[in-house]
Amino acid sequence: MRITHVRLVSQIFFVCLFFFFCFVTQFSYLKGYPASLFLEVNPLVAIATVITTHALYQGLLWSLVLLIPTLFLGRFFCNWICPYGIIHQFTGWLFNKRGITDNIESNRYRKVFALKYYILIGMGVAALFGSLQIGLLDPICLLFRSFTVVVLPTLDMSTEWFYVRPHVHQLAWVVGFMLVFLVGMNLVIPRFFCRVLCPLGATLGLLSRFSLWRIHRDTVKCVDCDLCLQRCEGASDPHTNLRKSECFVCFNCIDDCPHDALSFDFMPNVKGEVTGPQLSGRRAVMAGIVGALTFPFSRRSGDVDKIFKKEVVRPPGSVAEVEFLERCIKCDQCIRVCPTNVLQPAMLEAGIEGVWTPIMNMRTGYCELNCTLCGEVCPTGAIQKISIEQKLGIGQFTDLGAVKTGTAFYDRGRCLPWAMDLPCVVCEEVCPTSPKAIYSREVEITNRWGEKVVLTRPYVDPEVCIGCGICEHECPVEDHRAIRVTAVGETRSKERSLLLSMMGETESGGGCCGGGEQSSGCGCSNSSAKGNDSLLQIDLHQTT
């Protein structure tokens, strides 16, 4: 039972587990499976969200399970557990036909491998300011996003295993080609992503400096044949001084050394190792500056507040936009679990910071009324875990009211009964609230042929409308729907509310509901005195 075989079993197990979680993250199969487990044990996600939100959210406590062993053993995650790393290694094994010498040369350390640390520094500094961008390149986020947006839909085209009604995701080809590119780069540099770009690898590499075990080369036995580099995954120079921050603990070098000169030892001499990553101080500072500038550059583009786009309708249970960008790691698990395909990865609608964050597109789907799965799978709390009871605003949440994600508006120039003397009102039919947020009035008109026609013309009641978008989704004017849901009126944000009656206290913080009708206590919804719920409802002390 050699250790590399055990590692192989572990790799197969974890990559299968990852595929299993990808598959099972949907309504029919989810049950109680911890589908976000890989994201929750991810120390980069934990550390970055701690930096942005100053708290460790729920399941992210699991990251200690990975963090602490890394501090003892080094970057074993990269070769034993990381599903993306396993895919890279597999691709390299499948496609690389090189001779021994070529293999050895391809696994030598290169200075470009320091890039991932600069990337990490840039992202880390951005996080200090409240902009969470690690999700762009974190391997688990990237892989889950790729599966959600492009891999599973591709497989589904020929098998129909994954969806009952096919799912589409806008600009999926970008994510798809990015995946193919990064995996394909293994044919140029083995483990290209892991060595050059991976910020999680960089994080674990930085933590490896404290590790107590490492690969140790017995200089007496060693004949400098460099055969240990044949299959070195991390390109960590086991043939000279081991770069602890690069070693993936794959144990291939031990298997390959003909002279038994390599072993995995407890606290060998520090002279035989390169403890931390070799970084240029100047470049690190530059990375930090770029990271720091990200924040003002993106916020002053206005996408979060002043010129927020009406298409940025966030999932129900989302926190307000500023907090959302502090939490969302763009893993797209919410998009995966969403049964109706309404959640889409944004491109630039939410600004440069919001790339691949979830927004609702009512042309592809709508928000199912009795469903809160997106919040259930979100590992960082960008979408809070709310019960269906809370979403609908019933039971103990009757005072708080329903969670609204937006409001629907009629385009009377396109609506059939309004503009074309044709009957329709599918929108009213499918409106799920009780009472319906769409009501209608009958009107008798004389059409162009002189016939008397009774038309039912629909209206929206903005107090009842929750912005679920099924009206827009079912509207027969397919190309540009005659009723459209936009972000205004959402309960998560005071800046984007529509009606005074839904706003709670006024800006002056004095009276209540404007009219002063309620004297004893405020019967309004959205009181900020609800403690925990202040993330969801209007935080009246939040400054823009």
Binding site: M1, R2, I3, T4, H5, V6, L8, V9, S10, F13, L17, V24, F27, L30, K31, G32, Y33, P34, L37, Q89, F90, G92, W93, N96, K97, R98, G99, I100, N103, P190, L227, Q230, R231, E233, N252, I254, D255, D256, C257, P258, D260, N370, T372, L373, E376, S387, I388, E389, L392, I394, G395, P435
Partner: protein, 351 residues
Amino acid sequence: MFGGSGKRAFVRTEISQTETLLGIALLILVAGIGMGVYIKGQHYDPHLFALDESLLSAEPPVRQSIKLVERSAEGRVVGEVVEAAGLLEGLESAGWSELGAMESFTAETLYEKINGRAEQYLAYDVVGMEFVGLAAADGAFIDVFVYDMGAVKNAFGIYAVERPEDAIVEELGRQGYRVESSYFFCKGNYYAQIIASELGEEVRRAAEALARELEQRLAGSDAEVWGVQAFPTEDRVAVQYYKLNALSLDFLRETYTAQYRRAGEEWTVFVAQHESEELAASTMEQYLAYLRDYGEVSAPRQVDGVDVFTGDLGGFYDVVFRKGTLFGGVNLAEGQALAERGADELLGALE
């Protein structure tokens, strides 16, 4: 294994025992993780996937309706407010469906529905009425009327007035009764009529079901009808309540009457409640004046410190007395001894 062209220079064969043991331990750990994930998957809150049905509210959305105020037997307001609109909501029987909408009326609009009959309800201070008509597939229909009379005694009064001699007593509300396929009862401030359009067992059963359902819904006050409790119960046949013109005497208002039958003899007693002793005395004066007009009045007897007058109306005897704010007596009995005994029994029962 992984990596390289497959043609490796050397493959290690010496595996230390530590390595093997470590390997086995790691495999067990991996298997444990798999088990843990599976077990975790089987435990979940089903309300995550579907709304908890117990949260569904059966309350209808707020609608305009007449607000009915529960009054005690004396007519004073009791805190509770009963929504009329809910009373007949969804009142159905198998196979019977609502014919048209439910209708609500106030005292002012009552005549729209029942025309001339509104008079007698107005006489008893009706507050409002709810109506629903139910139809069966074969054309038979049942009309359900629920009158809010504003007070227990008013409901009782109109009920008693409408009740015919040959009514079949049913256990329904307070002294419910049935006439062929129709049911009538009063409960609390309400007087209910379930009137069927035709005879027949099936129709009757449907009407009965409706009547029972309605009885469940009507909030009954605990306060009993005063007269029913106050009058002696032995040999009592019936009790009525009149707001006006009790015993055909225009000065007798808000009067309870009761009939008794014993050993072939019948007599009627009555009691009127007043706000004050002066008013009670005034009524008595009017009664005595009437007796003197049409007959003779004897000198009063003293029974328990109360003056009891006997009036002879030519073969029929009235006996009257005033006790505190109560004015009462016996009306048109066929014998002096009978009248006086009846009055004494009544006086003894009144507190």
